[in-house]
Amino acid sequence: MIAEPSLRPIGGLETFKMEWYRVVGKARETPDTFTIRMKARGNGEIAFEPGQFNMLYAYGVGEVPISISGAPFNGQLIEHTVRAVGPVTKALASARIGSNLGLRGPFGKGWPLKEAEGQDVVIVGGGIGLAPLRPAIQQIIRKRERYGKFYILYGARTPSDLLYKRDLQNWRGRLDTQLLVTVDKGDEKWRGYIGVVTTLFRHIKLEPNNTYAYVCGPEIMMKFTVQELKNQGLPDDRIFISMERNMKCGVGICGHCQFGPFFICKDGPVFSYSEVSNIFGRREV
């Protein structure tokens, strides 16, 4: 059969279309960072994998990629944590309760939580990098019996930069989870650790061939965290990092998020360190 051009289908009309979500809650995490809770207009469950992201749209201002930072209750709510640094994130952060935001997604590959069942898990977050890790923490805690030892290491610049303070208190209160929090610079009330997040590794002893590590934060933080994990003997393919790059489309078309041979939007944002070890940490790649 000859494939006639006229038989070629027209596709992709859904590619850039978004759905409206209603803002139902907003929590101020730090002076410039907010967690926005939204509800889909229908009654369907919102399906996503921890570690995936959505493109969020503020009317007339634009669209940006934001990691999903939580899914509380019955699956009809979804949370994103937004730091107001550019025009779109500022507009998202100032969205009022009851207003609507556009959403496309979910996109990308998340944390390999299924693979890690039966294993120990160590989660390492730096600053706002805790946001895409939070749904993974929630899921592990929800299915706690399926995992072994569970560590959460979290570092921020100052105590006021710590996200999810109520969660941190809950996680710390659990007997089956070891949460360690550190800040680069304390204040008069701070009684915890001082130092970058990698200094927390001296307090834990991982079983390298029985542990998965999920890491997200600034690249420099991830670079030194990977080093610490390797020092403890973790193989590259048990270390997972979440990468960030400029993104315009979220679907592998605009070209902006390229990272070596990868499109972060569709091949990531979560990568096994073994996939990216030859380019990760290289300047300006």
Partner: protein, 380 residues
């Protein structure tokens, strides 16, 4: 596409200049906008045409690194030139296009740029390969581009085999030319010589075959076919540039810190010309616009370039702030990472980036330098 391949290589048809003009008229009658090469502002561009007389008859393009001039050929050839600054990407993936309209009330309309039957006249082998590359990028999924998908649907391709490669052409070394590969509806080889001027045509689809029958093209004689073959055989001997593709991806991956990048960054202006003339470069950005009342917002997409400083901007700064890193991104994408992403080279050997680079940077030379320097370093 694969089916079209099988069809090619059956019958050869003969078209004289008059019949070639009738081919254009017949396409117009079938409702196609016929787009072909025309002379504008001293260069050969692609635009809508009504008849063969609007083609750059009797002209050739003299090209070099950072050099392009038109000259008289001294004959009446319709296709006696190679490629100019335009590519078919302009029509399939427009430079600026509306993707979305959103009203304040919440109505969301996705756009696909509108359907249009287009017939491309004079598509070269490298350009046909470039369209097939874009097919992989924009239709290969998991997400499909709505605009490209819509424009691509109704395209009729009249390819032209290159009997005289240009000074910057290197398709032979990449395997995309000088003969047009699969994917065309009709391919033409132009024969111009002492008192003779005709085309040997082949159909690549039943639509192409029907059209040739429709204009009453007769089967070509053995003599006519062999005149065309002689010209194509000669064409293979006329190439001046080549790209050594053997192990190229691995070479580039091993040499991300090659000193060649430092040198080329001294010359590169990061002007983005190479990406705009490239027939496969697909990067875009979006602009949000609202009307004065704020009742309607639109998202427009336009071509972007990895050479622009803000291309890789994330809060805190651009990932690739140096020209070195932007040139390296472009070169390694074209000749390396593209293969991992889409299974093909991102370069089709058309030479446009060499011609339209204001400082004449030559991709084939830079790749060869990286190879040479690696050998020098390892034997030093």
């Amino acid at each position: 596409m694969g089916a079209k391949e099988e069809r090619a290589g059956t019958d050869h048809y003969f078209l004289d200049p008059q019949q070639f003009d009738e081919l254009i008229a017949a396409l117009r009658k079938l409702g196609y906008s016929v787009i072909g090469p025309v002379v504008r502002d001293g260069a050969i561009l692609y635009d809508e045409i009504e008849s063969a007389s609007q083609l750059p008859v009797g002209l050739r393009d003299r090209q070099g690194p950072g050099y392009y001039r038109l000259e008289e050929r001294g004959d009446k050839a319709f296709f006696g030139f190679v490629v100019g600054p335009h590519s078919w990407k302009k029509f399939l993936y427009p430079p600026r296009v509306k993707l979305l309209t959103v009203s304040r009330k919440g109505e969301v309309t996705a756009h696909n740029g509108g359907e249009r039957k287009m017939a491309f006249i004079g598509v070269r082998g490298c350009e046909l390969a470039a369209i097939s590359v874009l097919d992989k990028v924009l239709l290969g999924g998991p997400y499909v581009d709505p605009v490209y998908s819509t424009k691509r649907k109704h395209v009729f391709i009249v390819a032209v085999n290159c009997t005289e490669p240009g000074e910057n052409c290197f398709c032979l070394s990449i395997g995309t030319g000088p003969e047009a590969g699969p994917g065309y509806d009709i391919s033409l080889t132009e024969v111009v010589g002492d008192g003779i001027h005709y085309f040997v045509a082949r159909a690549g689809s039943s639509e192409g075959e029907n059209l040739l029958e429709r204009i009453g093209a007769r089967k070509a004689t053995g003599q006519e076919i062999s005149e065309a073959s002689v010209r194509m055989e000669k064409s293979h001997t006329l190439f001046r540039k080549s790209l050594d593709t053997v192990g190229l991806k691995e070479l580039l991956y091993r040499n991300l810190e090659s000193p060649v990048y430092t040198e080329v960054a001294e010359r590169c202006l990061a002007c983005a010309n190479c990406t705009l003339v490239c027939p496969t470069c697909f990067c875009t950005t979006v602009e949000e616009v609202t009307d004065l009342s704020g009742e309607v917002a639109e998202r427009w997409r336009r071509w972007d370039s990895c050479f622009n400083a803000d291309f890789s901007y994330i809060h805190g700064g651009s990932i690739r702030s140096s020209r070195l890193s932007r040139y390296r991104q472009w070169l390694t994408h074209k000749l390396g990472t593209w293969i991992d992403q889409f299974g093909v080279l991102g370069c089709v050997g058309c030479g446009r980036c060499i011609t339209w680079c204001p400082v004449g940077i030559d991709i084939t030379e830079e790749a060869a330098k990286i190879r040479r320097r690696e050998v020098e370093v390892s034997t030093a």
